[in-house]
Subunit: 195 residues, 6 copies
Amino acid sequence: MDAIQQLDSDTAREIAAFAFELGVLKRETRKGWIDACVPSPESVADHTCRTAQLAALIAAYEGGDPARAAHLAVWHDSQETRLRDLNQVAKPFLGKPDHQAVTATQTSALPQILATLLRDTVAEFEAQATTEAVCARDADRLECLIQALEYQAAGNTLMSEWITSSKDRLKTTTAHRIAEAAMTTSVLKWRTTMG
Amino acid sequence: MDAIQQLDSDTAREIAAFAFELGVLKRETRKGWIDACVPSPESVADHTCRTAQLAALIAAYEGGDPARAAHLAVWHDSQETRLRDLNQVAKPFLGKPDHQAVTATQTSALPQILATLLRDTVAEFEAQATTEAVCARDADRLECLIQALEYQAAGNTLMSEWITSSKDRLKTTTAHRIAEAAMTTSVLKWRTTMG
Amino acid sequence: MDAIQQLDSDTAREIAAFAFELGVLKRETRKGWIDACVPSPESVADHTCRTAQLAALIAAYEGGDPARAAHLAVWHDSQETRLRDLNQVAKPFLGKPDHQAVTATQTSALPQILATLLRDTVAEFEAQATTEAVCARDADRLECLIQALEYQAAGNTLMSEWITSSKDRLKTTTAHRIAEAAMTTSVLKWRTTMG
Amino acid sequence: MDAIQQLDSDTAREIAAFAFELGVLKRETRKGWIDACVPSPESVADHTCRTAQLAALIAAYEGGDPARAAHLAVWHDSQETRLRDLNQVAKPFLGKPDHQAVTATQTSALPQILATLLRDTVAEFEAQATTEAVCARDADRLECLIQALEYQAAGNTLMSEWITSSKDRLKTTTAHRIAEAAMTTSVLKWRTTMG
Amino acid sequence: MDAIQQLDSDTAREIAAFAFELGVLKRETRKGWIDACVPSPESVADHTCRTAQLAALIAAYEGGDPARAAHLAVWHDSQETRLRDLNQVAKPFLGKPDHQAVTATQTSALPQILATLLRDTVAEFEAQATTEAVCARDADRLECLIQALEYQAAGNTLMSEWITSSKDRLKTTTAHRIAEAAMTTSVLKWRTTMG
Amino acid sequence: MDAIQQLDSDTAREIAAFAFELGVLKRETRKGWIDACVPSPESVADHTCRTAQLAALIAAYEGGDPARAAHLAVWHDSQETRLRDLNQVAKPFLGKPDHQAVTATQTSALPQILATLLRDTVAEFEAQATTEAVCARDADRLECLIQALEYQAAGNTLMSEWITSSKDRLKTTTAHRIAEAAMTTSVLKWRTTMG
């Protein structure tokens, strides 16, 4: 297969710079877990990975396109290279950041095809008007809930706030049922699934 | 929106168990970096996140569907919950593991719609017969190269093996050009992109 | 000695809550180092400790009160329990946060004597109108420079930006001379100081 | 403002070497937590930061000078660059180390003004004869207790020894009341203080 | 004392390469703990160290040679530089790896005296036909149980599987009694042993 | 096989307590690496594991008993549960600790057979009068040198002090040759040994 348009070296360099920017997501830790005294908390990228996986599963069940839901999830926190993972305690002082403005800046030096792709993807996620967008956001929250259950199994006693608030904000029946089931399923159950 | 079929609680529990299984990807470290003495190496999920992001970008340029390429990437290492991140030094003793067999086991208790989705996705990635599959695999390798460049910038002197072998296995022009550009781009360049 | 006023249990609880809030500084990592791919970066509290120590040393040399300079340093990043350690890349999207507003909120439930102490301390640091405030800010920057030199000794190749920008913003002759000396002093020299 | 005396480059280098020595406090972990199986325990500098903050708060309430109490706290463990954070189990074999002797060695190459400052500060803390010294030591113990409560909230079941022994050694009413309050206050309470 | 045969530089280099290979054991984390959400899990070398210590103690009690038992333990996981620390969930896909084949490869470039030593040692451990081999394997399991108790004391709620399965596989009376005693002994008891 | 003497439950409990004490070695980090700004430094147990392995290899070449040399190495730092890993900078203040006194205390509640075993083992290592003791100490130093080379490959620029001082103190020809070879061997060479 051939590229639609050959990348010139300046453009390639801008894409490479953006790839390095995305690397921040692998090193930035999620802030709620820091508040909750979790040792060595997960990265934003860790969270994004399972969010995308869950988005596909939820969308498949909700009649959406799994790949499109996963793709929305893949970019849903990509603004955090610049904004970092702020949470509720920052809001009174920093306001609600404009994710689309960040995406616009991040993609300002990218070729048009990529800038448009990412801006449209982020806009769709933020608008929450498609099945896939709703499934991706539910996946975001379900992932947080499941991670909280894992930290709880690891001993943390402060997780109920995250479990409850994640669960309460779920929109789809599918995510809601998985959440309820997760709360009574052992973290180690999968090890006995030997197919 | 409504779920195609309502999840019963046993099925929901199996999906929850699978979600916990996917959590292993967030905690399993990539083995090449352990060989190379990298402190606190990234997780498989960290790698998967940027791989999916790069898969979308490469596919957009190569005329593929970005969402489908990202989705293939999202699941491309999902077998490593069981196989762990084995590398070349294990091969003479463990053989080449059958990823589709692992996926079959992992999904054996999932509802049909999800089992089929994941088996088809993994099969498409393994077959490498679609543009999206080729872009996802190139993203896998490009991500490794970019991570190696980051570890090199962090001081590691052993990265050339990973940089070279990742680059040599790239198939698409787009990935190849980004790889070449990355090798001469500062890891910090993005911080000056202020749009 | 006796307390000026006995703490009632509600007030004591608010102080305890504030003490837990300050614990976030021990777990929040400094963001510049995350951008620069530093593994296991220092916490805000780590930075604060040496900043306070350096503030005392600089102030002693600059004719200020070492204890007061150290005290200003001790609180100089205390807003980061809520704002986190944001850096230049966040500024276009979040603006320059109002540190005194954060302190006001943090201390809103504390007894008057403590609220006034902290608000005055933060205001003095922000105003930069006293010798001690200038020394404390110089200590903040000198500490960053010295940490960057340590990470550079540990292998990191991206530190020049932090070394240069920290040095360029120093105001006192004392801090400037220490900075210059640090750049040509071994990180291990102290081990041979056997007094 | 001008420095009392201009630093010559040899002196500046000795101060820089001492600054690097203080960096050890950021990397040395507290030993009690290692005994208690705490993952990724805090550094001595982490402990020092909140100790200084608490020292100021306690001193303000106890009628002392907050800045002076904080300053005493800032240096109270500075000997641990050489002695490390030894605890009770080492005592039968290593004796009680002489902190002032360590400070004398650490400052032996520093200019007189700094050597005197640090020796006097450490001597005041060790003598425990001023309100500020008592408040600083109480802050040291209260900080340990609060950290133990945080580790307990994070799951650790072995913290009662540290909580009890820290509490039993508190001298001031203020610290004692905060300690008692902390034991029944949620680690997350501060997140609801929105001022 | 003199070496039996002087090492030529090529042979010395092969031994050095093998020493670097053994370094992987210090960086590879144990997989069961990853499944169980343990933060910052121990390395294979960490496990090996206490296994060797326990092997000596058990063997002394069981009438074996403590040094020989410790030596068997020292090498019992040395194949994991290549195989990594696989566990039960990998078995259906990777089979039971042949440890002696791995040792044969690892030692293929070593001088005969060393290759024979290591092959015989691994073969003796695998055959489980000597008192020392039985004690070393019991030490392997007892170490796992004791580590699980430590993680449980640190808060982890998922340890019963490891505690039970380790205990059930113990062969010697000595190991069994220590295991039972450990289950009701505080992790901190040793700190009161002041001899 | 049967135990020489059946363990009563009090004795078993003392052995279990000692096993928990040995766990400290898995969590205590080596101090030189902290001075040298190494991120996430190895544990004492990590060091002990490869030391024991190298002791066996060196002894085999030097005409000693590999198992006995490994066994000496296994216990050579076991005092550090109480003394921690002190280094040269602590010596002027803490003196040279008496390792045999620590071992005596550690084993004071153990059954005679174990107490004697450990005291004799530590005494033999300290006396340095047997081939095995010399090989074990050389392994201790060679391990340090090889670890320093690994940290150097990972980027650290401060390792020459550890490399040189370790090398200069080696006694056996075998260890000396391996050390020299290691200095010009790639950390990754073993990955190409495919037997």
